[in-house]
Amino acid sequence: MYTELHCKTNFSFLQGASHPHELVQRAAELGYQALAVTDKNSLAGVVRAHAAAKDCGLKLIVGAEITPVDAPAVVLWAPDRAAYGRLCRLITRGRRQAAKGQCELTWQDIAEHAEGLLAGVLIGDGERVSERPNHVAQTALGRYRQIFPDRCYLIAEFQRGPDDQRRLEMLRHLAHASGVPLVAAGDVYYHIPARQPLQHVLTAIRHGVSVAQAGGLLFPNAQRHLKSPDELRERFARLPDALQRTREIAERCTFSLAELRYEYPQELAPPGLTPLEYLKRLTWQGAQQRYPDGVPDKVLQLLKHELQLIGELHYEAYFLTVWDLVQFARSREILCQGRGSAANSAVCYCLGITAVNPDRVELLFERFISKERDEAPDIDVDFEHQRREEVLQYLYQKYGRERAGLAAAVITYRTRSAIREVGKALGLSLDCIDRLAKNMDGYPQEAIELEQRCQEMGIDTTSEVGRRLVHLTKELIGFPRHLSQHVGGMIMTRGPLCELVPIENAAMADRTVVQWDKDDLEELGILKVDCLCLGMLTAIRKCFALIRQTTGRQLSLAGIPAGDTRVYDMICQADTMGVFQIESRAQMAMLPRLRPRCDYDLVIEVAIVRPGPIQGQMVHPYLRRRAGEEAVTYPNDAIRRVLERTLGVPIFQEQVMKLAVVAAGFTPGEADQLRRAMGAWRRNGHMETFHQKLLDGMRQRGLSEEFAERVFQQIRGFGEYGFPESHAASFALLVYVSAYLKHYYPAAFTAALINSQPMGFYAPAQLVCDARRHGVEVRPADVNYSQWDCTLEGERILRLGFRLLRGLAAKDAAAIIRARAAGPFDTIDQFTRRTGLLQGAVSRLAEADAFGSLACDRRQSLWDALSQPKSRSPRPLLDPSDPAVDPLADLPAMTVQEQVVADYQTLGLTLRPHPVSFYREHLQRLGATPAAQLANLPHRRQVRVAGLILLRQRPSTGNGITFATLEDETGTVNLVLYKSIWERFHAIARHSNAWFVRGRLESRHGVIHVVAQHLQDMQHELTHRVPSRDFQ
């Protein structure tokens, strides 16, 4: 019985050439007693190995290869929980001392953390070997023996190198002289010899050379695999003790990752109260505030029930943790909103974590926390995007770096990056690689696809090189490349986090990240709180503030009056530019057909226009049923209960899981696995096993094959984009709030959106246009009136802020506002004197026409601005270039058209007539219809439209269809370009920002498109570098 004690996975990035599960499975096949996973200065791969080992019943030893700068490398194994904690601490220290991705340790560091750990010293690996061990090696080994008295081993590894016999003698001598026993190991980098080429490629990538150039960097043979017991016996024939000793070490290591117990921080409850008591108190207090007129009966029941469940499952500390976060955000006036499985509970509503009123929405808490699944609750909290960092830093500060960290995100090779790196390693020419990589994206659905795409790019996949390229690329896809940070998953623990998992530095300053990603954490039952950022929250908070300022009205997320019909009317007309989530083209196209009239309609609207439901062919059945064109039937009552609220069409992730339970007899645990497989099916194809199980289960329950197949297709459609109802519910609230603000406070809403840029779909130019269409007076940026942000000068009067001026620094704007406190500016000379601004900034202001209130025309003010000092150094007394009298210059007056061009160049928007309006007559002669008049034309009519292109989008689900939005002075037109048209007019479609389009009008259910048939470039006529936003 052998135990491999020295084995790297591919989490020793660009070194190991096998996945953890491959190594574990191979070790089990070979009948190993145990396998130690010892990545280089890392524990990033152990959880995956642990999960695989659990499945095949192999014992896993947790360890790491540590490479101190001043001593030979050593492999450390954790025999028990305490020693494991020290190993984590040691790696944390090394990682925190070094830059991201690096680890710096010294022998001293190891000595301080040595207690309890077992050590296998690596000496003479790769060095020139002499029979007599040199003095240095002996001393080094002696030092290790000091700190690991009876726990120190000398690792003997033989790779059929040039002089194994002599090495063996040397090691024997060394072991004898130092009194350190020898132990056998294999220095494993891959599970089977066939991975040698991939390992070579990884080595070449690591060193930035091609394999052919890598020469001496490569291992000369394929011996670094897991070997069979027979082979090992032969290899260690002269050292049988060393082989035996692997068993000894395996027996000494009793630690398993399953022992890790996650414990919530406890300090949140005040002394004298248990966390549960405290949570109850907070909840009831919150309920009083939420329902000043008395808590409704329904809510009362819910609260009791939920609190009982929380108590039984011991989740109180988790809820308190989230509450604490939200409390902090509130104290700093950072707007936040919880979402996720537990977030829409009555308890969370009372704690202020969410504003979704349980009285208004029908959501069952049990659906989110279930006793039988024993699955952790999941609450994501969205914060304002500009201020999320404050919240993260609060957490670091409150719990300390030792107890809090962000979850990692494992960045893996995707097709594009894999083919690029493999191509380089194989020495293909750079432009060939570029071309290949450009045409690859994501994970190819089938392995064959990769070959096809290579062939399309002119690579012969049957040739030697082509075969190698395809094979190695396939192997490399899915390999981890480096650790990055999760978007916002924070882990906080009661004890030191760094004894649970190593912590390392992130690329961003002041961020620390644990070595495990969210799946690893979930596997071990470690809870994280997702602190995400959301631009709309920033905008809503700013909007609330502006409303308070102008009208005195205090608004809050929970305080917006519900069910306002006028707001819904606006939504039904797809007048939703700027509204959260439903402002995209696809959403806007859906609104007039779905006609949402209540909260739950919005929940569905948010969830249905997603790649998942669209690919699963769920949208049209739902629409037909909603319109009453199709009868709603259910195979049985259980299914009716699951699907009733969405008219029999599964739209949410929860429904799919529930469906698997009631229709196919999955256990809740299996349903959960199904959910995870849904997320990853493209990569590993686990879905196939579920497919069969699902079909069998449904058949047994007497459901038709056709129904079963349809359900499976729907599940598959969810792919990576499944959207849970619990998230949609929280989003729907923000949809409603933002729509409400847009309807009643368009000026404040627009200002808030612009002040929160970059966010959302639309640029300030479109937002301003939209606001003006809704009766808002927009005033230009002006040195005498503007602030940095846009401000309101009345309930429906918006003043543009300096932030819109291109190239104006915030500190210059601040100087203007400071100087203005003493009174308005009269002339540009005076302005410069008082603000101390230099010529560059002043001329930028002049170009942007920001001196309008000084009664200067744009050119005159630029002329004046240019004479301002260029630097702060005092002017010489006699400057020849400084005339005493500055004669008036005779500058040509600007036409309106020139003004518009200048506006676009300096502000990106104009308050003057739309650029297209100057050409209306010309366009009329060409037969173009203004955007606003398209609605009056019949369906399928041939039309011509012209205007500026605002954005081009090519959704991944659209079969190469490109959507473009064209704008003229009357509104926008949605264009649909089929692939053939796009290709035929590629040059115009890709590069021109002004089109003249001939096409067919599609006008149904109030949704208007023009299917383009012919494009013509109007760039020269219509635009002067008007920016457009492409492919976002």
């Binding site: 490569l218 043979n221 432009d431 170009e847």
Partner: protein
């Protein structure tokens, strides 16, 4: 009075490429360059490529997809794409050649002073009458260039800047791609109206300044002229006025004539062709002295040198000299040349000798020593030996062995010529040697197939036969396994043994793992 003719070659990099490689005329040519982020971007393109929506500044990969066979636009005819790296040096060189050719029109020809010039400037004051007037001169230039296959725009004006500007803007087109080839403009002396119509771009001011002028609505020279000079100076600095004055001729700007850099070559024509070796050697010596003076001026030494003997009605004979260290010593070069000359049979009388330094490198300066030329001279002596041998036997025959970082023994070394290579002056970083006595110094090439008797099927050898002799293995070390080279094709998989026979010889053998055959690859000596 000065009159300047400007000859603009629109899209010169593309024109130049077609001029060098006429077969590319019909191609969609795309020239690219590596930008600072080492991304490849389109620098210039031909009209055919432009038709296919290729634009300067776009990434090369995008241009490639645009020009791929079968790519959009569908309705247009297919073209043969041609991608090449933009070669600034060659562009300049070709322009210089063209400048020399233009000396037929004017003794004073210059290049426009930009980094990547595409305009030639000719001083034609007072010589137009030779061609029958300025219009005729301009026409002559256009016609001559047309015969050379060049598209040019020609303008004659009072100052360099004006001529430069009129060549570009005389037709109101700044886009060389679409204007008529062979346009010409002759601006009469002292004409102000035409000049005032030129755009301000003609002043070649910093981009920001030009932009500001445009924003002020000042687009033409005339408008700029009407603004108060003092105000202009206060706003845009004195350089704008200086540029303006140069344009109008208020400040004289002389044309800097172009002078070709003399190539490092010398030649001599015999008054009477001769076959006399002594005479030839004498002239050769003189030429080498001449060349060495030139080399000394540039502090260069020669590494490779060609010496052509032009014989009557025959192909010229050529002597190539390759050196180990750069040298400019004529005696040494002559000595080496004589070595080769002695081997030549002259087919006919030599009428001309041409010598050209092909590769040069900075000359090593060595301080002489006060006392004697003791052992330190050895490297130099060795160099002399290497040079003599190389020149007598051929450069490829005097080589040094170099270890390569490579596990496959037969590929772990290579030979490199010692002479004539500036790289050999640096000592390359050698890969670490494997331990002592792990690799033999003597390798059989190719490895010799042998018969081996082993104890076990996959065990070490016990006895082997080589050249009909039997060797009994006394000691054996191994196996050392080498599996490598999969990227070259079939990988080589071998188990190596170092064996000592009972006769005391030490050999290096391996078993090929694919077919269990044995080979002898080396012998330890």
């Amino acid at each position: 009075m000065s009159r300047i003719l400007a000859l603009w070659l629109p899209n010169w990099p593309v024109q130049r490429l077609v001029r060098d490689q006429p077969d590319r005329m019909s191609c969609a040519i795309v020239l690219y360059e590596q930008d600072a982020r080492s991304a490849q971007r389109v620098k210039a393109c031909s009209a055919a490529a432009w038709e296919h929506a290729v634009r300067p500044g776009m990434p090369l990969a995008e241009a490639q997809t645009l020009l791929e066979p079968g790519a959009a636009p569908i309705q247009k005819t297919e073209v043969r794409p041609c991608f090449a790296r933009h070669d600034v040096g060659r562009d300049r060189e070709a322009l210089v050649e063209l400048a020399e050719w233009c000396e037929q029109f004017s003794p004073l020809v210059g290049l426009d002073p930009g980094d990547e010039p595409d305009t030639l400037l000719l001083e034609v004051g007072g010589l137009a009458h030779l061609f029958g007037g300025e219009a005729a001169l301009a026409q002559a230039v256009v016609t001559a260039c047309g015969q050379q296959g060049l598209t040019v725009h020609v303008a004659i004006a009072d100052t360099i800047d004006a001529a430069w500007g009129f060549a570009r803007w005389s037709q109101g087109l700044s886009d060389g791609m679409r204007s008529e080839p062979g346009s010409m403009a002759v601006i009469p002396p002292g004409d102000v109206a035409e000049r005032d119509r030129l755009p301000v771009d003609v002043l070649r001011l910093p981009v920001r300044t030009t932009e500001q002028l445009y924003r002020l609505g000042v687009r033409r020279i005339g408008q700029l002229h009407r603004l108060p000079r003092a105000s202009l100076a206060a706003r845009f600095g004195g350089s704008l006025l200086e540029r303006l004055d140069k344009l109008t001729g208020a400040i004289a700007e002389p044309l800097v004539a172009h002078h070709a850099r003399e190539p490092l070559s010398v030649c001599r024509t015999f008054e009477h062709p001769t076959t006399h070796h002594g005479a030839i050697e004498h002239v050769l010596g003189e030429l080498l002295v001449q060349l060495s003076h030139r080399l000394l001026e540039q502090r260069q030494g020669v590494l490779r040198l060609t010496c052509q003997l032009v014989c009557q009605n025959r192909q010229p004979l050529q002597i190539d000299l390759s050196l180990f260290r750069p040298t400019s010593a004529p005696q040494h070069l002559l000595a080496l040349a004589k070595l080769q000359l002695a081997l030549l049979t002259l087919p006919d009388a030599v009428e001309e000798i041409r010598i050209r330094a092909v590769t040069t490198a900075p000359c090593e300066q060595r301080q002489g020593e006060l006392f004697g030329d003791a052992p330190r001279e050895h490297p130099a002596q060795l160099a002399l030996l290497i040079e003599r041998l190389s020149n007598r036997l051929g450069r490829e025959r005097v080589v040094c062995g170099e270890l390569q970082a490579e596990s496959q023994a037969e590929l772990a070394y290579r030979y490199r010529p010692l002479a004539g290579d500036s790289a050999s002056l640096r000592t390359p970083a050698l890969p670490p040697l494997p331990g002592p006595l792990l690799r033999p110094l003597c390798l059989f090439e190719p490895p010799q197939s042998i018969d081996v008797v082993g104890i076990a099927l996959d065990g070490p050898p016990a006895m082997f036969y080589y050249q009909r002799r039997r060797y009994r293995v006394a000691r054996c070390f191994g196996p050392e396994r080498i599996e490598t080279g999969w990227w070259r094709g079939e990988s080589s998989r071998r188990d190596y043994y170092r064996v000592e026979t009972d006769s005391g010889d030490r050999w290096w053998l391996f078993r090929r793992l694919q077919d269990q055959r044995w080979f002898l690859q080396g012998v330890f000596e």
